[in-house]
Symmetry: C2
Subunit: 211 residues, 2 copies
């Protein structure tokens, strides 16, 4: 996934000559805490946060050029960079948004931290049953019921709690990947549990084939 797939294309821009008062109204109306400053060719020439605007209003600074950060202070990404890079830059620099440039230095979007949260959280929201369905398709010759039975056995071995295959099925229908990794204590443990289920069901399948 590339930066351009997660960036907000409905961003606002301002010019260095714009009035600080007008920028504050524009930011408030569009609910943007930050905005790129561009020239007539949409090239990035500065960056303004609402902190800069507050200072401008307080100190009576009239124009964007009086309050903006110069380009060398701006953290930005290229539209073709991996989305991961935008994620890392946002987290490491504790930024709410960063501008996205094309190869010519023109602003083509803005990546916002809550958009990243949304993208990342989609991964968490996948139902665990989807993973089991994929596993079931992969393990040819193993029925869904056998898979649920193996899952119930592994759960009992690991937690000491008796659980019926039908209860297990109900549980994975209602829980997400995100809940499962927190519940099992981390990604590796979650996968290990699945591998254990896979191992049991495969061993049973092979044993059956040899009979």
């Amino acid at each position: 996934m590339k930066v351009k797939e997660i960036m907000d294309k409905e961003f606002i821009v301002v010019s260095a000559g714009d009035k600080v008062v007008d920028v504050s109204i524009k930011m408030e109306n569009t609910r943007k805490f930050t905005t790129p400053v561009v020239d007539d060719d949409m090239k990035l020439v500065g960056w303004v946060t609402s902190f800069d605007v507050m200072r401008g209003l307080r100190e009576g600074l009239e124009r964007v050029s009086d309050i903006m950060h110069p380009t060398e202070e701006i953290v930005y990404v290229n539209e073709n960079d991996p989305a991961r890079l935008a994620v890392l830059e946002t987290a490491h620099n504790k930024l709410v948004s960063i501008p996205v440039l094309d190869d010519d230095g023109r602003v083509v979007g803005v990546v916002r931290s809550f958009d990243i949260v949304e993208t990342l959280s989609q991964l968490y929201e996948i139902k665990v049953s989807k993973i089991f369905e994929a596993m079931n398709q992969e393990l040819k010759g193993v029925s869904w019921d056998e898979l649920m039975e193996a899952a119930a056995i592994i759960t009992r071995r690991r937690t000491g709690k008796r659980i019926k295959p039908a209860e297990y099925e109900e549980r994975i229908k209602n829980s997400t990947f995100g809940e499962a990794i927190w519940a099992t204590g981390g990604l590796e443990k979650f996968f290990v549990g699945l591998i254990a289920i896979g191992e049991l069901v495969i061993a049973r399948k092979i044993a059956r084939a040899r009979k």
Copy 2:
């Protein structure tokens, strides 16, 4: 994981009677786009964003009480809520931060979108080799070399590309879970690949045991 584990405890607070000018300086100095408004008992009585402060400065509104959002408009979470809830609230409402309350309605922290990005991205940053190490430990009687060999065979079957076990090992040492799920085309596909490798290695282990 609970909200209290991901919240920022170094938040700022303001009072309804504080001057808007002073709040703007406080927000700028601490680089906070938002701040809870609390009473003497730290109970949440309002919420101020830098949009409200900009408006206050522009329109000459003097006190926080003139610009703050009332409590009924505030999206908040309890410190003992699952962290997932804060993630969902942030993403769905496109917020940069939300206040965290204890059972008595006192403000005990603030969850910020870039902190969530950091927490979520840690999941992505787990090395794929960690998952294989966990798998290797689980599959007793299978050596690491056998696992890498099976992985190379499955990769060739699925992609048509020949890859040596040592190359595969090098690849998983250098790639993260995040990269792997994007590269394989999603979580389910990534997991199906792992199950296929597990299936092959288990089949070989059982065949060896029967000899």
